[in-house]
C-alpha cells in the first residue's frame, strides 16, 4: 500500500516525488516511458524564467516567482549545472517599447526582483550581436539556463535515494476508486497493480486522460507543439542572456539562448495539434523559428544546426496551472496543465502539492534521514589536467574516450548505467553523459555506447534500444559465413 502514487516521471512528477521523500511516506512514480523526463521535460526552452510574464494573481505567476530563487540551493544540492545569465525581452521597434513597459509593470506586480529597462546603448553593451532593429529591452537578472533533463534525472535519483520507488514502461491503464469518498485507489498498468491512498496526476499532456480514467474532473489539455534547433557550440557565444521577443497570445515567441553546455538554442514556435504523441518537426516550422530567431539575432548560422526537435506544451483551458484536489474524487490531486513556466515553477509546484495533500489528510512527518544531496557526477571534460590524470590512474576506464565530440569517457558511461535509476538505453546514456549529443550526433560513439550498455546490462547487442520499447537499433546479426559464401561468388569474393 502506497501513501502516494505519482503518475508521470517528468520534471513535475520527479519534483513532487523528491519533495514527498522528505517525509515518512511510501511513494512511487509510475512512468509510461523507459526513463524519466521523456516528454515535455526533455524538449523545452531550458530556461529558468524570472516571472514577469504570467498574469498577476495567477498560479503561474506565484509559482514562477517562488520557484526561481529555489534553484540556487536546489542545483547545489543536486549537483546540477545552473547559470543565472539573466534574460532580455527586446523591442524591435519603438511601438514595442510600450509592451516592455507593460511587462515591467506586470513583473513589478508579480514581485519579480532585478528588472530593468535598458536603452539601446546598454542593450548593445549586454548583447553585442543583437539586431540593429532592437531599440530597447527589459532585462531580468534572475533568469537563468539549465539542462532540463539533467535536473529531472537528478530529482529522480535523489528521490530514489530517499526511498521513492520508480516503475518504468508502466502506462496507467485503469484507476479504480476503491472506497468512494475516501482516498483509496487501485492503479493498474499492463504489469502492475498498485494500491494507494493518494494519486498525484503529473502526467503532462496526458493528465486530462488520467483524470478521466480516475473519474475525476473533466478538462482538456491542448497539445501545443514547439519546435527548436540546437546549434553547434561555435555559435554559443552569440548570445549571453536569454533573448526573448515581445510575447504574443500564443506564448513567449521565438527565443535565442545559450545552453548550459555552450550551444545555441533557438525556438519555439507554437502550433496546436491533435495527436498528443506527435513530436515531429516540420520543414515549415523549422523555417519559421529560424526566421523568427533571426529577427532578434541575425548573425547566427542556421547551417550550424546539429539537431532539431519538438516538444509539446500541455495547454490548460484557462491558461493557468491546474494544481488542486479533484472536486469529485477524494485523494486525487492534479498537477496538470503545467506549460511554461513549468520548469521554473517545478520546485514550488512540488511544495504546493505537498500542502494540498496535507490539507487533504495526508500526514507528512519529516524524515530524519532525508538527504537532500545527490552525489556529484564526474565530468571528465570539466576537470583540470591534474584531476584528469588522478582520475585515470584511479580508474583507467576514464582514460578511454567514447564520445569524441563531447569528450565523454567509458568511465562516465559506466557510471551513468550503474547509478541509481541508471541509463537503460542509448538516449538514457546520452541524456546523462552527453555521449552522442555533439556535432556527429552519435555517428562514432553509438556502436561503442551500445557495447557498454550490452556489457553492463548483460544483454545481447540486438536488444539494446534507443529509447526503450520497440526502438531497437539492430535488426539482427549479418549472414553466417557459409550463407555469404554462396552469394559472394557473384562479386569475385571481395565483398
Amino acid at each position: 500500500m502506497y501513501d502516494v502514487v505519482v503518475i508521470g516521471g517528468g520534471v513535475i512528477g520527479c519534483s513532487i516525488a523528491r519533495e514527498l521523500s522528505r517525509y515518512a511516506l511510501r511513494v512511487c512514480v509510475v512512468e509510461k516511458e523507459a526513463d524519466v523526463g521523456c516528454g515535455t521535460s526533455k524538449a523545452n526552452s531550458a530556461i529558468i524564467h524570472a516571472g514577469y510574464d504570467a498574469a498577476p494573481g495567477s498560479l503561474k505567476a506565484k509559482l514562477n516567482v517562488e520557484g526561481n530563487p529555489l534553484f540556487t540551493e536546489l542545483c547545489q544540492d543536486l549537483a546540477v549545472p545552473f547559470k543565472r545569465t539573466g534574460s532580455i525581452v527586446v523591442a524591435l521597434d519603438e511601438k514595442e517599447v510600450a509592451d516592455l513597459e507593460a511587462l515591467y509593470e506586470r513583473g513589478r506586480k508579480n514581485r519579480v526582483p532585478g528588472l530593468r529597462l535598458l536603452d539601446q546603448t546598454a542593450l548593445r553593451a549586454l548583447e553585442p550581436h543583437i539586431s540593429d532593429q532592437a531599440v530597447a529591452a527589459l532585462y531580468a537578472e534572475t533568469a537563468g539556463i539549465i539542462c532540463p533533463f539533467t535536473l529531472t534525472i537528478a530529482l529522480a535519483e535523489n528521490a530514489y535515494a530517499n526511498g521513492v520507488e520508480f516503475f518504468f514502461n508502466a502506462e496507467v491503464k485503469k484507476v479504480y476508486a476503491l472506497r468512494p469518498g475516501a482516498p483509496r485507489f487501485l492503479v493498474k498498468t499492463d504489469h502492475l497493480c498498485l494500491e494507494t491512498r493518494y494519486i498525484v496526476n503529473a502526467a503532462g499532456v496526458h493528465a486530462d486522460n488520467i483524470s478521466r480514467l480516475a473519474g475525476g474532473d473533466s478538462f482538456y489539455l491542448t497539445p501545443r507543439r514547439g519546435e527548436y534547433c540546437l546549434l553547434d557550440k561555435d555559435q554559443g557565444s552569440l548570445a549571453r542572456t536569454v533573448i526573448f521577443q515581445v510575447p504574443t497570445k500564443m506564448g513567449k515567441g521565438v527565443l535565442v539562448a545559450p545552453t548550459i553546455e555552450g550551444n545555441l538554442l533557438i525556438g519555439p514556435n507554437a502550433h496546436n495539434i491533435e495527436d498528443k504523441e506527435d513530436t515531429g518537426t516540420t520543414a515549415a516550422g523549422l523555417a519559421e523559428i529560424i526566421a523568427g530567431a533571426k529577427r532578434a539575432l541575425p548573425s547566427f548560422d542556421a547551417q550550424k544546426t546539429i539537431t532539431s526537435f519538438a516538444g509539446l506544451r500541455a495547454v490548460p483551458p484557462q491558461r493557468d496551472f491546474l494544481i488542486y484536489a479533484d472536486s469529485k474524487v477524494k485523494g486525487l490531486i492534479h498537477a496538470a496543465g503545467i506549460e511554461s513556466p513549468g520548469l521554473t515553477a517545478a520546485p514550488a509546484v512540488a511544495k504546493l502539492v505537498r500542502e494540498i495533500l496535507a490539507a487533504d489528510g495526508l500526514k507528512c512527518k519529516p524524515k530524519r534521514n532525508f538527504n537532500p544531496q545527490r552525489p556529484p557526477v564526474i565530468r571528465f571534460s570539466d576537470l583540470s589536467f591534474e584531476e584528469q590524470s588522478k582520475l585515470v590512474r584511479r580508474d583507467p576506464s576514464y582514460g578511454r574516450i567514447i564520445c569524441r565530440c563531447e569528450t565523454v569517457t567509458e568511465g562516465e558511461i559506466i557510471a551513468a548505467i550503474r547509478r541509481p535509476l541508471g541509463a537503460r538505453d542509448l538516449d538514457g546514456v546520452k541524456r546523462r553523459t552527453r555521449a552522442g549529443m555533439g556535432r556527429c550526433q552519435g555517428g562514432f560513439c553509438s556502436p561503442r555506447v551500445m557495447e557498454l550498455l550490452a556489457r553492463e546490462l548483460k544483454l545481447p547487442l540486438t536488444q539494446v534500444t534507443k529509447q526503450g520499447g520497440s526502438s531497437y537499433l539492430l535488426a539482427g546479426p549479418t549472414k553466417a559465413p557459409e550463407e555469404t559464401g554462396k552469394k559472394g561468388a557473384t562479386n569475385n569474393g571481395s565483398l
Binding site: 539492430l474 546479426p477 549472414k479
Partner: protein
C-alpha cells in the same frame, strides 16, 4: 612528459603514409596516435575493393590497402599508441592525449601532422523534419555495424544521398539480405563515383532517384517510413503534390563528409570555409609553423590513393622542417577557385620550396561536358595561362587534378619578386569566353 620529433595524429591512410614518408626522409623519433583500437582508420570497415588502383596499380580491399602501410610502419619500428585520444594540440606543439594504459599524456613534438580524417554529416545538419525514432543512421556507422561488428541495422532500407559510402552500403546491405528500396539524391547528379553507381546500384537493380529527397521521417520508437518528394532542381525545394510515403525500417544517410578539425581550431590553425579543413601550402603546411595536415582532414577525397599522396607530402615536409633550417620563402602564390570551381587545394604555393611537380586538387560545382579547364597566373605584370585542358566530363562528385610543373610556374612568374600579389586561378570558363592572352 614524452618528446618526439614528429607526432602524427590519426593512423588512417593519411597518417600512416605521413609517418612512413617522414621516416624515409630521415626522422626516426615518430609517434602515431590513433583513437580507435586498430590502425587503418576508416579503411578497416571498407571491405569492398577498388582501393590502390592508382597507388599500387592493384585492386585491393580497404583492409588490404591499410595493411600494406601498417606493415611499413611496423617494419620501421615507428611507435604507435592505439585507443588514444588527443584532447588538445597547442600552437607550440604540445599534445595532450589520454588512454587507459598511460593515463594523461603530455607530449612535446618538434612537428605535428594532423590526419584526423572526416566525419559524416547527420540528419540534424540537413534539417530532415519528422519524428526522431531509432533506425535513422549514417551510412558509415551502418558500414561499421555490418562489416566490423557483424550486425544488420535494418531490413527495409531507404538511402538518402548518393555519396560513395551510401552506394557501397546499398550493395552491402543487399548482399546481407536487406531490401534496399531506393537511393534518393537531391541533386540532378550523383556525388558518388560513376563506378560505384554502376557496380553498387545498377548491377543490383536498385533505383536511383535524382531530384528527390526525404521530407518527413515517421515512426515513434523505430522508423516506420519516410515521405519522399521530388524537388525543383532550381530551388531544391520539394514540389507540392509529389510527396509519397515509402515504408522502411531504416533510413541510411549518405549526405556528405566534413573534415574533423576540432583540434586544428584549438591550435589556432586557419581553416578554409569551403573545404572546412586547414588552409595548406604545396607542402601541406598549415598556418601554424611546424603543423602539417593531409588527407580528409584537409578536404574530403574520393580515392584513398590521393589521401596517401597528401599524407606523404605532409610527412616529407614535416621531416624537412625538423631536419633543416628553414628559410622563410619570400614568394607566395594564392590559389583561387574561379568560375565553375568550388575550391582548390593547396590554397597557397611557395614556388621557392615546391617540388618539381605540384598537383592542384579541386572540385567543379556542376556537371561539365567537353569543357575547357584553365589554370592561369595573375601577376603584377598581367595574366598568364599556365595550362588549359579539355575534359570530356567533370562532375562535382569526382575530384579533379591539374599538375603544375615547377619550371612552368617559374617561367610564368618571370621576374616577380613578390612585391605584387600573385594568384593562380583554376576555372572552367563559359564557352566563348576568351582566355588566351
Amino acid at each position: 612528459m614524452e618528446a618526439y620529433d614528429l607526432v602524427v595524429i590519426g593512423a588512417g591512410p593519411a597518417g600512416l603514409a605521413a609517418a612512413v614518408a617522414a621516416y624515409e626522409a630521415g626522422v626516426k623519433k615518430i609517434l602515431l596516435i590513433e583513437r580507435d583500437r586498430e590502425p587503418g582508420g576508416i579503411l578497416e570497415q571498407c571491405i569492398h575493393n577498388g582501393f590502390g588502383l592508382f597507388y599500387f596499380g592493384e585492386d585491393l580491399t580497404g583492409p588490404e590497402y591499410a595493411a600494406r602501410f601498417i606493415q611499413r610502419v611496423q617494419e620501421r619500428g615507428i611507435a604507435i599508441k592505439l585507443n588514444t585520444m588527443v584532447l588538445e594540440v597547442t600552437p607550440d606543439k604540445w599534445i595532450i592525449a589520454v588512454n587507459k594504459a598511460d593515463g594523461l599524456l603530455k607530449i612535446k613534438a618538434k612537428a605535428v601532422v594532423l590526419a584526423m580524417g572526416c566525419r559524416e554529416r547527420t540528419r540534424g545538419a540537413i534539417f530532415i523534419p519528422g519524428t526522431r525514432p531509432a533506425g535513422v543512421i549514417t551510412a558509415g556507422t551502418a558500414q561499421r555495424f555490418v562489416n566490423m561488428e557483424g550486425y544488420l541495422p535494418g531490413k527495409e532500407v531507404v538511402i538518402l544521398g548518393s555519396g560513395d559510402i551510401g552506394l557501397i552500403m546499398a550493395r552491402r546491405l543487399t548482399l546481407e539480405g536487406a531490401k534496399v528500396k531506393m537511393v534518393l539524391e537531391l541533386l540532378p547528379y550523383s556525388s558518388g563515383l560513376t563506378r560505384n553507381i554502376v557496380q553498387c546500384l545498377q548491377d543490383f537493380g536498385i533505383p536511383l532517384l535524382f531530384n528527390h529527397t526525404v521530407v518527413a521521417i515517421h515512426g515513434r520508437q523505430r522508423i516506420t517510413g519516410v515521405t519522399i518528394a521530388e524537388v525543383d532542381p532550381a530551388t531544391k525545394k520539394p514540389k507540392p503534390g509529389t510527396e509519397r510515403l515509402v515504408s522502411c525500417d531504416t533510413l541510411l544517410l549518405s549526405v556528405g563528409l566534413i573534415p574533423e578539425n576540432e583540434l586544428s581550431r584549438q591550435a589556432g590553425i586557419a581553416l578554409d570555409p569551403v573545404t572546412k579543413g586547414p588552409v595548406v601550402d604545396d607542402g601541406m603546411a598549415t598556418s601554424v609553423e611546424g603543423i602539417f595536415a593531409g588527407g580528409n582532414v584537409v578536404h574530403v577525397h574520393d580515392l584513398v590513393d590521393n589521401v596517401t599522396r597528401e599524407g606523404e607530402i605532409a610527412g616529407r615536409s614535416a621531416a624537412r622542417y625538423i631536419l633543416t633550417a628553414k628559410p622563410v620563402p619570400s614568394l607566395k602564390i594564392n590559389t583561387k577557385a574561379g568560375a565553375g570551381v568550388t575550391y582548390v587545394v593547396p590554397q597557397l604555393i611557395h614556388p621557392q620550396q615546391m617540388a618539381e611537380e605540384l598537383v592542384l586538387s579541386f572540385r567543379v560545382n556542376q556537371v561539365f561536358k567537353d569543357q575547357k579547364l584553365v589554370v592561369a597566373l595573375a601577376t603584377g605584370q598581367g595574366h598568364k595561362i599556365l595550362g588549359t585542358k579539355k575534359r570530356m566530363i567533370m562532375v562535382p562528385g569526382e575530384m579533379q587534378e591539374f599538375k603544375v610543373k615547377k619550371e612552368d610556374l617559374w617561367a610564368a612568374l618571370g621576374q616577380e619578386d613578390g612585391s605584387s600579389p600573385l594568384e593562380l586561378t583554376v576555372s572552367v570558363p563559359e564557352e566563348g569566353e576568351d582566355h588566351d592572352v
